[in-house]
Symmetry: C2
């Protein structure tokens, strides 16, 4: 068998376990160095591939590579650059072929969400369209959990765990103070287009009265009167009210709530977040003292409280990607297949990139309770396995020890630069 | 020795380890049930003491009491009610004596911050002023770390760890994306009057270039030009800039930055937080894409990432409080004494409540670097031991298992109610 190098790239918003996938890719490629002499990584995602800014991962020690498994964020850098269509932006693909060819790269692993799988699909067409034999494997990752076919998207389970743990803890804090102080707490979470992350907050509520009492989904338009009624009920019944609000919550007219409220000192609209707007609304109408939090990047980088299930799946997906490439598969994406719910059992399957590209999976209607403020038992059964287990990083001096790779550049072989639009 | 009951109350904003102190109090009192037959807890702090709303802790199982050690927030409820002076608000103290007397209470443990230690001091004067023999022990607790004499305030070390871990993780996230996307991240943390919590973020920076690159302290007025220069330098040098900003940051004129920026749809000032204002300022002047987070209650309830040192000290303080009471000491507060820095060794000492009351310890000037944006080595040596060690709670179904006590009420013996002002 002829030997060819491989290229791995991270794409889009990073997660607390995307490096576990990188670890799976690198460790598996090293086991097959008879077939893949060098595994390169693109610096800052596809931009590094286009600009021939490659990293030689063979300089990283085995222990540093192993440490990727417990290190959040993107070890090689990421970006949000999307390749255009093959017919209209052919130059980008021709450039990729130049870079691949110059470095004897015939395997390409693209680790990202929906947009990136679309890019991976286009790259997988290079063989037939441009005549350069490339094997392209899409590697799933996104906290948004909106990739099709796979049981879940690596990265999501850990955000889900962070949000469920956080609202449980903050809810207990508010409950302690509520008799004479703060009665309402709003935690804003990510998920602009789908309520998967907000829904995960609902896992913290295991019996009546537990936080969160209300979830505000992007899928359910804000009905102010019903919300206020519900808040009043919770305060009357439980003494306080804990709310998880998605950043993607919309007004009845379809506009984002986050865009509707605040103006800064210059008179500009402030994308200040949903949480303060909801908290202020409740204060105005019901008079309850409030607090709110906006977790932002904290939720997607919180490797310290990652889901063990998520870490294991992220690693397995990376490993499977290399194995699929070596088995000669092109234009596929390894996926997680749920074998059973209880106990949760899963295996690795595959999906065609052509079918994956540009399909977004939204929260099913039957995952949201009829009142629009909670999750159903079906949703709980789906979500609960994804946050199982803890996978703590090592600590030194009281702080998690995350690895920083050497990331040594590969010498450039091309004479030309490539301008990123 | 005659037997008398004891009363324990939690006061002020709760922490992730105040229940570890409660655990120390209850377990130690149980070991001495020949002298303290019943340990009561006041429901919702001093309000419960005044309204005779007492909890009989003897109904709680040993395992539930032990679980307090890993349970955040206030298990018996807390409040921010402050007793007035003895001469002007004598009725409150007379009421306390009525309640103490009706329930044979002669030991009072008041677990709180500066205001609460002032209250504890006043209660300790009841013996001489009202002739009822009460032994009052102040038990320190506050995330603000502003209590005098003690090496640190139980509760602070865990917030410090949360903030340091969070800015390390979020900083890595931003670093991954910075080449083509978000370049500036601002994490807003608590500490309206002193920069202890903001300073703790600095622990995450162990070598040049590590996050956070800038800390904005309440002690250093916002100098816009210097801040913008520093942000530009960081982005040029490291590719991104991670900032920890205290909610108590002030403008050059002394007003709070958080009050200066945003107006809501009704034209009202919005206490929206320092983070969005700083982030927006940087965007306006330097053009960098930003993200920001506001941790709020998440930081002080995050028992999942509590400092083991903090948990142990919180427990030891509760244990010592009971032992001091049994030793016949009145009007004292157990404190933590730092015996050595490296290795960190500590013991329990005591301070007089008279000297503790109403003294706030602020961040020493020599803990802030000359440029006003970082912490010094002296600060690091003080802070670092406080975040050492992890003390993970048990998990079930992927979620931390926190105890909810039965909190059974003690039958009221008084015929009169007491109205809380």
């Amino acid at each position: 068998m002829e030997k060819f190098n491989a290229l791995y790239a991270q794409s889009g918003g990073v997660t607390s376990v995307i490096n576990a996938t990188a670890c799976g890719v690198i460790e598996t490629a090293r086991q097959h160095n008879d077939k893949i002499p060098k595994l390169y990584a693109a610096r800052n995602g596809i931009i590094g591939a286009l600009t021939e800014d490659l990293i030689d991962t063979s300089h990283e020690s085995a222990s540093d590579v192993a440490a990727l498994r417990h290190t959040p964020a993107g070890a090689f850098g990421s970006c949000r650059h999307k390749l255009g269509t093959l017919d209209k932006h052919r130059a980008q693909y021709e450039r990729l072929v130049e870079v691949f060819s110059a470095h004897h790269i015939r395997y390409f692993f693209y680790n990202g969400g929906g947009d990136s799988q679309d890019t991976a699909h286009k790259v997988s067409l290079i063989s037939q369209e441009l005549g350069y034999p490339i094997t392209c494997i899409g590697v799933p990752k996104t906290i948004d959990n909106d990739l099709p076919f796979t049981d879940n998207s690596p990265g999501f389970g850990s955000v889900a765990k962070y949000v469920a743990v956080s609202i449980r803890e903050a809810g207990m804090d508010v409950a302690s103070m509520a008799s004479s102080s703060t009665k309402v707490f709003v935690l804003e979470v990510m998920g602009r287009h789908a309520g998967w992350i907000a829904a995960a907050g609902g896992l913290a509520c295991e019996k009546a009265g537990d936080a969160p009492h209300i979830i505000l989904f992007p899928e359910v338009r804000l009905q102010t009167a019903q919300l206020l009624n519900r808040v009043q009920e919770c305060v009357s019944q439980f003494g306080y009210c804990a709310i998880v609000a998605s950043e993607g919550l919309r007004n009845p007219d379809g506009s984002f709530v986050a865009e509707s409220g605040l103006t800064d000192a210059f008179g500009h609209k402030q994308l200040g977040g949903v949480a303060p707007i909801i908290a202020k609304l409740i204060k105005e109408k019901l008079g309850f003292k409030y607090h709110w939090a906006l977790a932002d990047y904290l939720q997607r980088s919180a490797r310290h409280i990652a889901s063990k299930t998520d870490v294991e799946q992220a690693y397995a997906i990376g490993k499977a990607a290399v194995e699929m490439a070596l088995a000669g598969k092109n234009a596929v994406m390894p996926i997680i297949v749920r074998e059973s719910n209880s106990p949760y059992r899963w295996s690795i399957g595959e999906a065609s990139l052509e079918r994956v590209a540009n399909v977004e999976v939204s929260l099913p209607k039957n995952y949201i309770t009829d009142d629009g403020f909670g999750i159903t038992e079906a949703c709980r059964q789906y979500l609960s396995p994804l946050i199982q287990g803890e996978a703590y990083p090592p600590y030194l001096h009281g702080l998690p020890q995350y690895v920083k790779l050497k990331n040594l550049a590969v010498e450039k072989k091309l004479k030309t630069n490539f301008a990123i639009a």
